[in-house]
């Protein structure tokens, strides 16, 4: 039933739409499962697979028996959250010699990546590999992706992928998302479809002060007021907008197509819903109550939250689940009291939350169209190492670095060193990853809690109409929603009013939002929905 909607067969043709069904099957790589280590917690409710048992570091398996890299040089531009290490550090050297490719990283600030991407792609000097998160695919970026990046189909479609066993083990729904304009362009980072944004809090301080984790919007507000003591330089939290989306069950804003959902036969956009306004209003009240750390007022230019969270200047912030373990490892040696934990998602009224699924792959690495075949092969060699599953030497190297330099082994458990915390960060994990995995042999309790958090949230997660699809909107609508994120932040910080948002939504409808709705409706009618 599902068919090709309107994807670009040629460069000059129309590029908008999606690719599904038979057409997708022709280009998708074959799936060959790898079972190096059986997970202790299998995936459920859209969670990652979890490993909590002790890992025998002495008997790690090898998933890449011989180096596939041919010693070429590959430049990669990628978003980086935190402070990037020196270009020629021990981790990059170790990875490069393991792969057999000289990867040169061009790390850019992840928070303002959208501001660089458009300019870099418009230049004639595009790096060999560019990592693009889905949430940065705004404006004309999708069009740039389709025209600037190489078709990996000839190297990966069908059985060709078997040359790269770790890539063959990447789940098909992640590959499905890597099809842009009818071609396989991306190397995906598979992710759980459960939301990745966790309200993280300082469990050690909560325990000491006797704070209880809130279960409703009102409880959160009351707690926030209790925590805040500006005189002592302590605030409750940072901007909790993302948590508010979850509390009020607002459709996902991480990608444009996820913002649409079919309700009683009519597609509704997240900005048109009452929940959206309610969540904004609640966040506005939070700011107005003075319980938000002043840094959060700065918006995207705010400094890295890590040091001030560790110093206890604020106790709660919403961020990616990976920070749960990242901050734990980072603080473990110098700050043994420090404990960061995730709050289970709750509904604003204290009842069951309503969450919306994220895409099963949200970050992609693309290869420059001008790259030669040998460069493409080298990039795939990189990806085949970074996509190695847990329990292999390659996974250990990608996620923990070099033994003795980036981690030491104590009682059979890897313990990251300061150097490890500084250097083994972002970079290689951005190229391609194994099926969503949570495994922290150094902190198995954190790994267990992370998977349990996902499974709890997953039980309340529904899929919206365009889940799983990779959709390129028609060029004439690309700038339609540009202003919303800014307006959200203006409202929550008290600079604009909720009525300004209502006005913006009605402008959006008349300027093309309603036509875009029709376009999505037709896409849905033609392709059906992937949601099950």
């Amino acid at each position: 039933m599902p068919l090709l909607a309107a994807c670009g067969g040629s460069d000059s043709g129309s590029r908008d739409g999606t690719t599904s069904g038979k057409d997708a099957k022709k280009i998708l790589p074959a799936f060959v499962a790898s079972n190096v280590v059986t997970p202790d917690i299998p995936a459920r409710n859209g969670s990652a697979i979890g490993f909590t048992a002790k890992l025998d570091l002495a008997t790690l398996k090898t998933s890449v028996p011989e180096k596939l890299g041919k010693g070429g040089k590959v430049t990669v531009m990628s978003p980086f959250w935190g402070s990037p290490p020196k270009a020629d550090n021990a981790y990059y050297q170790g990875m490069n010699s393991l792969i057999g490719v000289d990867v040169a990283w061009q790390n850019q600030d992840g928070n303002t990546y959208d501001q660089k991407l458009g300019a870099v792609l418009a230049s004639s000097d595009v790096p060999d590999v560019v990592v693009v998160p889905g949430w940065n695919m705004t404006g004309r970026i999708p069009s740039a992706i389709i025209s600037k990046f190489a078709d990996l189909g000839p190297y990966l479609s069908g059985d060709a992928v078997k040359e790269y066993p770790n890539l063959a083990a990447i789940p098909t729904d992640a590959w499905q998302r890597s099809i842009f304009g009818g071609k396989l362009l991306g190397l995906p980072q598979p992710s759980p479809y459960v939301t990745g944004i966790v309200p993280l809090y300082r469990k050690d301080v909560f325990d000491k002060k006797g704070y209880t984790v809130p279960r409703s919007a009102d409880e959160f507000m009351a707690l926030a007021k209790e925590i805040t003591d500006a005189k002592a330089k302590r605030w409750a939290c940072l901007d909790m907008k993302w948590t508010a989306w979850q509390m009020f069950g607002v459709l996902s804003g991480s990608e444009k197509p996820l913002g649409w959902n079919l309700v009683d036969g009519k597609l509704v956009n997240r900005v048109e819903t009452d929940e959206y306004l309610e969540a904004l209003e609640w966040t506005r009240k939070l700011f107005a109550a003075g319980v938000v750390h002043p840094d959060a007022e700065l918006g995207k230019t705010a400094p890295d939250p890590g040091p001030k969270f560790a110093a206890g200047e604020f106790l709660i912030y919403a961020n990616n689940i990976s920070q749960w373990w990242g901050r734990t490892a980072e603080q473990a040696t110098q700050n043994p009291e420090f404990r960061i934990w995730g709050m289970d998602v709750f509904a604003h009224d204290g009842g069951d939350p309503h969450l919306w699924a994220e895409q099963p792959a949200g970050i992609f690495a693309f290869v420059n169209k001008k790259a030669s075949e040998s460069v493409i092969r080298d990039v795939l060699a990189v990806a085949n190492v970074t996509a190695a599953p847990y329990g292999t030497k390659e996974y250990m190297m990608t996620n923990y670095g070099v033994e003795g330099t980036h981690y030491t082994v104590k009682d059979g458990v890897p313990v990251k060193t300061d150097k490890g915390n500084n250097e083994v960060l972002n970079a290689y994990v951005m190229v391609a990853s194994p099926a969503a995995t949570i495994a922290h042999p150094d902190f198995p309790a954190v790994a267990k809690a992370q998977v349990e958090w996902q499974q709890h949230a997953g039980a309340f997660t529904k899929k919206s109409s365009f889940y799983g699809m990779q959709i390129t909107e028609p060029a004439r609508y690309t700038n339609l929603s540009d202003g919303f994120e800014q307006l959200e932040d203006d409202i929550t910080r008290g600079r604009k009013k909720i009525s300004d948002m209502q006005q913006a939504v009605s402008d959006w409808k008349s300027k093309g939002g309603d036509k875009l709705r029709d376009w999505y409706k037709k896409l849905l009618d033609d392709n059906g929905t992937a949601a099950s």
Binding site: A119, K148, A475
Partner: protein, 344 residues
């Protein structure tokens, strides 16, 4: 006006002495009346070394200022830079839309908001910033001891070499919501004061930052002008019984007048350019409503949202208005009897 004639005739005397002083000792040229009536060939021969020396700068201006102007054609297009790897090919492949982008701009309240912010900031900077380097130069000029003078100059120049990121970080540490000032207030029982994120006072903040960073640097031109005032003028004035203030009013300030007029003309011509990096870095802190100026508007729509044709149209509007302003300011300078930027 009598007081101003002295330094001005001085300057004119300088000029006539300078122009024919071409290298090579062209005695013939020297005897002829000053430039303008010589044939092009003779003038070229006379000034060839000077012309040669300006050539590299001319080339830079051509390549980096004039050639890119041609790119403004995208203002009349729905420009998509991604259709090819080459900007020119992309222009050829992008559809022409006539004046659509301009129509959109004039109907866009965000654009008019940016215009308003730009003009308000320009006015504030003119009143609060422009006089400060002059005052500083007069102060420095009155310092007699060379060591003290060199030290204070160094201290005044230093902030110019800090990047905006650093300047704003320093301001944030001092005046931010969790900064030194706020915490001090809280210690003493008052409410904290977040100067860095207050849209109402943002324009004053921007001006204050500029003053701190660049006012010291701005005194160089004035110091040079002050150094050229002959000391005998002061002596003569003193002999006539002029005190400190009268000497400053009748000797120093008139000497600075041409420079002030020139810089004022340049500043007015640049009125729509009120800072880019500085404002962009703080855009999120107060929101675009208070902070968006024409340059950040262009950047945001073009580079961030990839709506290049639209951004180019806004940039073009700004360029045309700026050209008008510089012509008008120059005319005004002539009417006031000053040199201005150029003369026909």
């Amino acid at each position: 006006m009598a007081h101003s004639t002295v330094p001005r005739s001085e300057a004119e005397a300088d000029e006539t002495a300078n122009t024919p002083a071409a290298p090579g000792g062209e005695a013939a040229a020297r005897r002829k009346p000053p430039s303008g009536r010589l044939s092009l060939r003779v003038r070229f021969r006379r000034d060839r070394v000077l012309l040669l020396m300006t050539l590299p700068a001319l080339l830079l201006v051509l390549v980096f200022s004039y050639v890119p102007i041609l790119g403004n054609v995208v203002a009349f297009q729905d420009y998509d830079p991604y259709v090819s790897d080459n900007g020119i090919v992309s222009i050829l492949h992008s559809p022409w839309v006539g004046f659509d982008n301009f129509q959109r701009i004039f109907a866009d309240s965000a654009f008019w908001g940016a215009v308003r912010n730009t003009l308000v900031l320009f006015g504030l900077q003119l009143v609060l910033y422009f006089p400060i380097p002059i005052m500083l130069a007069l102060l420095i000029n009155s310092v007699v001891r060379p060591k003290v003078r060199a030290l204070s100059q160094a201290i005044l120049y230093l902030p110019h070499f800090f990047s905006w990121v650093l300047v704003i970080a320093v301001f944030q540490q001092l005046f931010g919501g969790a900064g030194l000032l706020s915490q001090l207030l809280r210690q003493h029982g008052y409410d904290g004061l977040d100067i860095m994120t207050d849209p109402a006072t943002f324009k004053f903040l921007i001006t204050a930052e500029s003053v701190w960073k660049d006012a010291g640097w701005g005194i160089i031109v004035f110091l040079a002008a002050l150094a050229s005032v002959p000391t005998d003028l002061y002596e003569a004035a003193a002999m006539d019984g002029a005190g400190r203030w009268r000497r400053m009013w009748h000797v120093t300030l008139p000497a600075l007048r041409p420079v002030i007029a020139l810089l004022l003309v340049l500043r007015v011509g640049d009125a729509l350019t009120v800072g880019f990096e500085q404002i962009l870095l703080q855009r999120d802190a107060v929101g675009p409503g208070a902070s968006e100026v024409l340059d950040t508007f262009v950047w945001w729509n073009g580079v961030r949202n990839q709506d290049f044709g639209y951004a180019a149209a806004a940039g073009l509007v700004k360029g045309v208005v700026s050209l008008g302003l510089v012509l008008a300011a120059n005319k005004a300078a002539h009417l006031m009897g000053e040199q201005g930027v150029y003369k026909k």
